[in-house]
Amino acid sequence: MLRLYRCLLLLYPADHRVRFGKEMVAVFQDVHAEATAKKKIARIFFCLRETTGLLAGALQEHLRAMGATPVWLPIPTRRLFMRSEFRFPKATAVLMTIILAGVVMAIEKGEGIVASLSASPHFHFFPGVMLMLGVVYAAGVIGWAILFAMRRSGVHRLETSADQK
């Protein structure tokens, strides 16, 4: 990682490297030593944060060197530096995946039943109606899942507390 960091530092203008390069490497070594003791996901975020920080920083320094006024990059790198207060429950992601899988299976099953019924000479069913029912059912389930997720995340409490104030 240190080697990659040094390589990315080469993207900076020479004057910035001369002025801050040694210092940045020293600080990075300290931060990296601390990050290696953390969990894998934290280490991945650390690598992403440092890489995007260096790339964005190098671009800004080049723009500055060209005499351009400081600009904020359109890519949302701040998301990597600033963590939102909002916490999405992990269980919701699992639950929504299960629900989605259920909906997909139900639609496939429905389509299979419609196909078998339409093939039968004694029974004529309307596939369009079945498809519409399936879509309405899926929309209902997804809507319920979103409402359930919002309730689990505590969004409704914000409204309640605002009303109380």
Binding site: R19, A26, V27, G57, P70, M82
Partner: protein, 126 residues
């Protein structure tokens, strides 16, 4: 529009802005870096940790972001290098200049004013 906000406070706020004429408002990371240096001179790693601690882990700066901000602050004369006795590991400490401190105070006043205004308005709404 200005009901609920004392006129004298508003006037003094405008006055302070005119006197200072500095680029405010500051972004949250820059504000936190300045606040970190307000207490004592610090080097890069110490600033990173202090910013993280002050924001309860919400703002975690990368070294690229930190040194981009430090360079801007140095160029604008808001901070200056501070000579430490031990800088053997390439650690350079920084401290606020008088100008930086004045601008930080102006930003704090601006935020205080906004918070007071928000409180007044929200109490009125309730």
């Amino acid at each position: 529009m200005t009901s609920g906000c004392p006129k004298s406070n508003m006037a003094s706020y405008d006055m302070s802005l005119k006197v200072i004429m500095e680029p405010l408002p500051l972004t949250e990371p820059v504000l936190l870096i300045l606040l970190s240096l307000a207490g004592q001179p610090r080097h890069g790693y110490s600033i990173l940790k202090d910013v993280e601690q002050m924001s309860d882990g919400r703002v975690v700066l990368s070294t690229g972001t930190l040194y981009g901000a430090l360079r801007r602050l140095l160029d604008d004369d808001w901070i200056e290098p501070f000579k430490e006795q031990d800088n053997s590991r390439g650690r350079q400490a920084y401290r606020l200049t008088a100008r930086g401190r004045r601008n930080l105070q102006a930003e704090a006043s601006r935020l205080k004013h906004l918070a007071r205004l928000a409180n007044l308005r929200m109490v009125k709404e309730a």
